[in-house]
């Protein structure tokens, strides 16, 4: 399940709903990762662009990997502006046993950072500035150059 929201995520509500959705699915482990905007470099917040068609296919390929291990993934992400101390990202893995979920959440979040078609901007002095130095070129980039 992939959920996109305009602005900040309502973390308690999402975690609670996901918990309740799977409460009787016989998963022994529910491991969420929550990304929150920190106060650093004088930013007022962050802003995100999302390209949904490729994000959905990227997510579905991970969901298939999870299913092969008897697990499922849920993910929520913000579009647009998210201010300091609000959250823009939740990923969670449900699996029968903890080891699969712990390993999966690590691999999933790392690939999310490297591959998911989402662009981040710092909100500073009323401007929206692309976070170029913190961004990663998707594998296979540069073929047109």
């Amino acid at each position: 399940m992939l959920e996109l929201y305009d602005g900040a995520l309502d973390v308690p509500a999402i975690l609670k709903r996901w918990y309740e959705e799977e409460a009787k699915s016989n998963y022994g482990a529910y491991i969420p990762f929550i990304g929150t905007i920190r106060d650093e470099d004088s930013i007022e917040g962050l802003s995100f662009d999302v390209y949904e068609p490729i994000l959905i296919s990227w997510f579905n390929s991970w969901q298939n990997k999870a299913k092969a291990k008897g697990a499922i993934i849920k993910m929520a992400h913000s579009k647009g502006d998210v201010m300091l101390h609000e959250s823009s990202y939740i990923a969670a893995v449900f699996s029968p046993k903890r080891r699969v979920a712990l390993e999966f959440i690590d691999a999933f979040v790392e690939d999310f950072k490297a591959s998911a078609p989402i662009w981040k901007y710092d909100l500073k002095h009323g401007e929206r500035i692309y976070a170029k130095d913190r961004s990663t070129a998707i594998q296979g980039s540069g073929i047109l150059s």
Partner: protein, 73 residues
């Protein structure tokens, strides 16, 4: 016509081009000063599937997207 889209922070309007493969697109975009460094760092998708080489035929109605470096979360 093939539609070419520039995603995220690449501030460029979409193009509509009469091209039949990605090699032709590469030549056109390499001559576009607006793109600067973006070509070196951007991934390419054809009809929303990422491609890893220029050996890709294009037909009328196809969509090519350029995806610059990402940072979700």
């Amino acid at each position: 016509m093939v539609r070419v889209e520039f995603l995220g922070p690449i501030q460029k309007d979409p193009l509509a081009l009469e091209i039949t493969n990605l090699n032709e697109l590469a030549k056109i975009l390499q001559g576009d000063d607006e793109l600067g460094e973006w070509l070196k760092t951007s991934a390419v998708a054809v009809n929303d599937t990422l491609v890893s080489s220029l050996e890709c035929e294009l037909k009328d109605g196809d969509k090519v997207s350029l995806l610059p470096p990402v940072c979700g979360g």
